[in-house]
Amino acid sequence: MATNKDAEAAVSSNDMTVSAPPMGFKVIVREFMRDKLALFSFILLVAILGTVFIWSFIIDQDVVQSVSLWDSYLPPMSMSEDPMFEGTRYILGTDSAGRDIFGLLLIGARNSLLLGWTVTVVTSAIGIVVGILAAYYAGLVDNIIMRIIDFITILPQLMIIIIFVTIVPNYNVATFAGILILFNWHGQARFIRGRALTVGRLDFISASKTMGTPSLVIMLREMMPNISSLIIVNLTLNFAGSIGLETGLSYLGFGLPTGTPSLGTLVSYATNPDILENKAWVWLPASTLILVLVLCINYVGRALQRAADAKQRLG
């Protein structure tokens, strides 16, 4: 995404003339300046991402996940009662096995964000390729692709994912990501195809075809740049969706495998009514973090969406 932005910024600086309308990166900056809430969301998001990634690589995952039964369910801000961890203060308390909630939160957030981002990027990539192919070749190719997409759409998504998760042999992070990708690319493909169809009907594409430009060049150099801003917007909005799906599945117990904590794993402690009612420090921080993350990402996505569409811009 960063490289794409850089490319756009480069383009806008190249054809900077006095009367030229603002393009690329500048439009985005202006949009965020006009909408202070979007700017706030963006800064908050960067701050969370920075904290999560830097801190989670500093802390030792083995120490966080080490069990200490003396420290079971300590409320926030209490000192460790285990002689092995003497002097440790648990800012957010501990879980049943005496593990530090704050550490689990950081590691969980890192895992959820990384998995969500991977799924989003891969599904978008598949969606772009399939969508542009369908829109460019139309006819039979489009028909076959659309029938497959229609079929996946009618599948009960959550159920099929859960069934797959339970029957896949040697289940791990990679297979989980694979299952999510398998049942999520079709929405992207449908969206990209719709937009690419509109672009594909424009005169310059027909002109390019008549001049004998190779199909691959038309698709990559002529159709794709025209939908690139939509791709970025979609990437952001889907990132929030993927995080929601992964944490939801992890909450149900069909998400990231044990040993790879996710934000959803922390929330799933709330399945126990006693923890839900009396030990809110175990699950509430993770729930709040999920809420803040999806709200911020979505809000940034909306601002990008407005920036991508001249009719909706605030500036």
Partner: protein, 319 residues
């Protein structure tokens, strides 16, 4: 129109077949078979093998599929080895709960969504419109399981306004008390569902009304002297509700599907809860039929939506 509907139904048959084959193959990957629970553990394994052979469990997959399909066409979808009952009976036992929950959720969704969408569209740029937009954004973004948990925690456990789990109180004696208790248990989960369910209704209604306000037919109606209130109720609302009508097929179908997250968090024994239970007890025959049923409902939902859209908007012809 009937020709289109019949053609669409005929087109559904191959889709259902593919769906059933796919799910059948998945079910075959699952370990265990109907005898795992049925048979006395003291039985000789050799004897078990004879029985498996007799019931055709060792047959190749296509043979098994054809036999299953023949039985299914006669209404026999197999037995649940967890409940020791026919699968259809197990599912039918849970369906009532899910339909009640979904019905109330749908009613509440429209009760919240329609007025907010209409008002936001009519008075757009007002404070109300801006508030509705914020709500609309939040309801789009928030994952349902997070909201449901917070609702249970705040209103169920801390404030004690609503029961936090189950579908009926054990103290209810008379029929009237039972109904009231059921309704009381339904309120919190259906409010939660409704809060997040209004997103597309509000979004469509609002933008359609804003577009319609400046359209020619509204100008004509106003200039011939139709009162503004009547323009909204008779002219604008009818046109603006078309996109909502197009989603109504899925709304009807959602009566039967329910929500896995909501039923899990509120410990509400409906279809979604049954699915999770069957996954945990490895009750494959139930999982298989449930997945097939939900896929079938998805197909019906698409068909219903198109039919409703054709019925309310004569300009639309879908083939």
């Amino acid at each position: 129109m009937w020709k289109t509907i019949i053609r669409r139904i005929l087109l559904m048959i191959p889709q259902i077949l593919i769906l059933s084959i796919l799910i059948f193959i998945l079910a075959d990957f699952m370990p265990g078979d109907p005898f795992t629970g049925l048979v006395d553990p003291n039985l000789d394994p050799a004897q078990l093998d004879v029985m498996r052979e007799a019931y055709g469990l060792n047959d190749p997959l296509p043979v098994k599929y054809v036999r299953w399909m023949k039985n299914a066409l006669q209404g026999d979808f197999g037995r649940s080895f967890n409940y020791q009952q026919p699968v259809t009976a197990v599912i039918a036992g849970r369906m009532g709960n899910t339909i009640r929950l979904s019905l109330l959720s749908i009613i509440l969704t429209y009760l919240i969504g329609l007025p907010l969408g209409i008002l936001a569209g009519r008075y757009n740029e007002s404070v109300l419109d801006k508030t509705v937009l914020v709500y609309n954004f939040v309801s789009f973004a928030v994952p349902i399981f997070v909201l449901a948990l917070l609702m249970v925690w705040v209103f169920g456990y801390n404030l004690n306004w609503f029961p936090a789990r189950g579908s009926i109180s054990v103290n209810a004696d008379t029929q009237w008390e039972k109904w009231m208790s059921q309704l009381y248990h339904l309120l919190l989960p259906s409010i939660t569902t409704a809060i997040l369910g209004t997103t597309s209704i509000i979004q469509y209604l609002r933008s359609e009304i804003i577009d319609a306000k400046v359209s020619d037919y509204v100008k004509t109606a106003r200039s011939k002297g139709v009162p503004i209130q009547k323009v909204y109720t008779k002219h604008i609302f009818r046109n603006a509700s078309l996109p909502i009508a197009s989603g109504f097929g899925f709304t009807i179908v959602s009566l039967f599907t329910g929500s896995i997250f909501i039923e899990k968090i509120f410990t509400y024994r409906g279809m979604g809860y049954l699915f999770l239970q069957s996954i945990n007890t490895r009750d494959y025959s139930v999982i298989f039929v449930l997945a097939l049923f939900y896929g079938f409902l998805g197909l019906i939902g698409t068909l219903l939506s198109d039919v409703i859209l054709m019925a309310v908007d004569p300009r639309i012809r879908i083939d």
